[in-house]
């Protein structure tokens, strides 16, 4: 394997639990995936599937306590970031990997100018002077489509979509290799969503950034991603390139997800949602976590956890039907 094929990000058997008074919340359970340089992967799942926890884990930002990385390793450029010391972690965050947070309304510091919030990243990581970092911040603002005259304004003077652009500018300020976008468009209007997505798509192409895009919107994935991983109850149940997962859907949960999307071509009056609810992460069922809701359940599913099986090159499914 030459250097080019080596994945930028390699998550191996990552398990993250939150230890609370009401029990252990098993947020992420033994997930593994790779992300190549310049590749974009969609991480799709319902609320509570462990998507955000996975991203925070990759940033090594799991709040501890109560969160704890129980097992696994996260290799970025071949180095396990979980073994970094404080200094290495700081150099990694914001510089090598950065994150776009879900809610732009609360992600920005209300009492610092947007310019300062962008400038401080490059000032800190690239050892720029104050003036240089502000020049850089002005460039970043223009890049995300905000006039640089607004550099000295405060977050409350911006609209939601504008704030999210600022958050994107912060995340890209040091030209990171890896971008984790946690539902970057969920809090925005539909019209603004499209703009912000297009902007992100352009920027990561321009800089060759690899991205994990967390979303619960399967439509968003098709617009911007090369690959997709479907998460359920802290596990990746199906992963592969867009075509494999969208056209040759295998896992019953993924099928259920597609079934719950309205299609304009279908004349059926009702959607087909998946029955039941996501299991309580403090009390996951034995065997396959999806078995209580699975239409194709077999007796074996209640006792045995399915392994990750490659059913065609690059297309993995965690389901006993395909083992």
């Amino acid at each position: 394997m030459n250097d080019k094929d080596k994945p930028l990000l390699s998550v191996r058997n990552l398990t993250i639990h939150y230890i609370t008074d009401n029990g252990v919340v098993k947020a992420v359970n033994d997930i593994s995936f790779d992300l190549a340089k310049g590749e974009t992967m969609g991480l799709v799942g319902e609320t509570g599937a462990g998507k955000t926890t996975t991203a925070l884990g990759i940033m090594n930002l799991i709040p501890n306590p109560p969160g704890k990385i129980i097992n696994g390793e996260i290799l970025v450029d071949g180095k396990n970031i979980l073994e970094f010391n404080k200094y290495q972690t700081r150099k990694y965050r914001g510089n090598v990997a950065s994150m776009i947070f879900q809610d732009p309304m609360t992600a920005l510091n209300p009492i610092l100018t947007v310019g300062e919030q962008i400038a401080e990243v490059s000032r800190y990581h690239n050892k720029l002077s104050k003036a240089e970092s502000y020049v850089k911040a002005a460039e970043m603002l223009e890049l995300v489509g905000i006039p640089s005259e607004r550099i000295n304004e405060y977050p409350h003077q911006f609209s939601g979509g504008m704030k999210q652009r600022v958050v994107i500018a912060i995340a890209l300020a040091c030209n990171p290799q890896l971008l984790l976008a946690d539902e970057p468009t969920t809090a925005l209007d539909v019209t603004i969503q499209a703009q912000v997505l297009a902007l992100m798509g352009d920027l990561i192409k321009k800089y060759g950034t690899s991205m994990v895009l967390i979303t619960h919107d399967l439509g968003v994935v098709t617009e911007i991603c090369d690959r997709v991983a479907i998460m359920y109850a802290g596990q990746i149940v199906e992963t592969g390139d867009l075509e494999a997962v969208y056209e040759h859907t295998k896992h019953p949960y993924t099928k259920g997800l597609f079934g719950s999307l309205p299609r304009i071509s279908d004349k059926t009056s009702r959607l087909n949602p998946i029955d039941g609810l996501m299991p309580d992460p403090t009390n996951l069922p034995n065997g396959c976590p999806f078995h209580p809701r699975c239409p194709d359940k077999m007796p074996e599913c209640e006792s045995r956890v399915p392994a990750n099986t490659e059913i065609e090159p690059g297309h993995f499914v965690r389901c006993l039907l395909y083992e």
């Binding site: 930002l61 510089n95 947070f101 809610d103 920005l108 209300p110 405060y154």
Partner: protein, 323 residues
């Protein structure tokens, strides 16, 4: 901002008028005849009556109040019946002493309390936090005068290293400052801690962590400034308490300040002095409140824009809304 300041100063005028009216009325109806007090028991009834006429004490309540107010507007607070000196001069002499003590105490409180509050919040439930909270509880529960007496007992009587009374040099300040600060240190520490605890759980603190900034930068630049608003409020209150409440401490340490002066004046029915002293304290409280309001705007740009827009103080509602 200037408009807001002017408005705010104009608002203080009715407050101060109210204070003069209240104090004047209270003293007017208090028993005891100043003329008799000035002349002593040996004076004849005619002599007393003549003095009453001369001092205008036989005029109606309204006439007396108006003539007093007229004097105040010209900066004339009346004459000390006992010493015959103008009240304004006498009050100013004592005021500097009281202000010096109050400023020293509040500066000392801030130097101790703000770092203590920050450390307690950042290392919540640690040994440092627990110790600080126990000390704060003690500081809040101990009466000022008792602490002052204990300090005198220990440092002056047993150890003999600090002077017990007067105010003639730096070492004379030590015990009064500790006596006055104990309560404010406790209050400011607790307020800083709870405000910081709230702020460090905000999303924008997570954003600053994701930027890879140092813990010091995150706490001082991103968290502290946001946490300061309630702390500033408390500092303002504590300052007015230090000025108005200096009475007890000045009595204990025999410091020739405004508090002790006022107590002596009340005992002697020295009406003009009491009125002048209370008015000056009220003016100082108004000034402190104005400074606090202006500081809010300095710390929080959202409040500044509120001031600029409407000139109304909506800080409480706003701070609540913005969480």
């Amino acid at each position: 901002m200037l408009k807001f300041t002017i408005k705010r100063i104009l608002v203080a005028i009715p407050v101060l008028l109210g204070v003069t009216l209240l104090v004047f009325t209270m003293l007017y109806f208090t028993e005891g005849d100043p003329a008799r007090l000035i002349l002593g028991d040996t004076a004849t009834e005619e002599e007393v009556e003549a003095l009453r006429e001369e001092l205008g004490l036989n005029d109606s309540f309204g006439q007396q109040y108006i003539s007093y107010l007229g004097g105040v507007l010209k900066g004339d607070l009346g004459v000390d019946y006992i010493t015959g000196r103008p009240v304004s001069e006498e009050v100013m002499d004592r005021l500097t002493t009281t202000l010096k003590l109050a400023v020293a105490s509040i500066v000392f409180s801030m130097i101790v309390a703000i770092p203590a509050g920050i450390i307690s919040a950042v290392r919540q439930y640690s040994a440092v936090d627990n110790i600080a909270m126990v000390i704060a509880l003690l500081g809040n529960s101990m009466p000022n005068f008792w602490l002052a007496l204990m300090l005198i007992l220990f440092f002056s009587v047993f150890l003999g290293i600090l002077p017990a009374s007067g105010l003639y040099g730096a070492q004379y300040y030590i015990m009064p400052v500790i006596g006055i600060s104990a309560g404010s240190i406790a209050t400011i520490t607790r307020m800083t801690r709870s405000s910081m605890l709230e702020v460090i759980r905000q999303d924008y603190i997570r954003t600053s962590m994701a930027k890879g900034l140092t813990e010091f930068l995150i706490i001082v630049k991103h968290a502290l400034k946001n946490a300061l608003i309630p702390v500033i409020t408390v500092i303002g209150i504590q300052f007015t308490v230090a000025v108005g409440g200096a009475v007890v401490n000045e009595q204990v340490f025999a410091i020739p300040g405004l508090g002790k002066f006022l107590v002596d004046a009340i005992k002697a029915r020295n009406y003009q002095v009491v009125q002048g002293g209370v008015l000056v304290i009220a003016i100082i409280c108004s000034i402190v409140n104005l400074v606090i309001d202006l500081l809010y705007a300095f710390v929080d740009p959202r409040i500044k824009s509120q001031y600029q827009k409407s000139g109304k103080i909506k800080r409480i509602r706003m701070v609540k809304e913005e969480g």
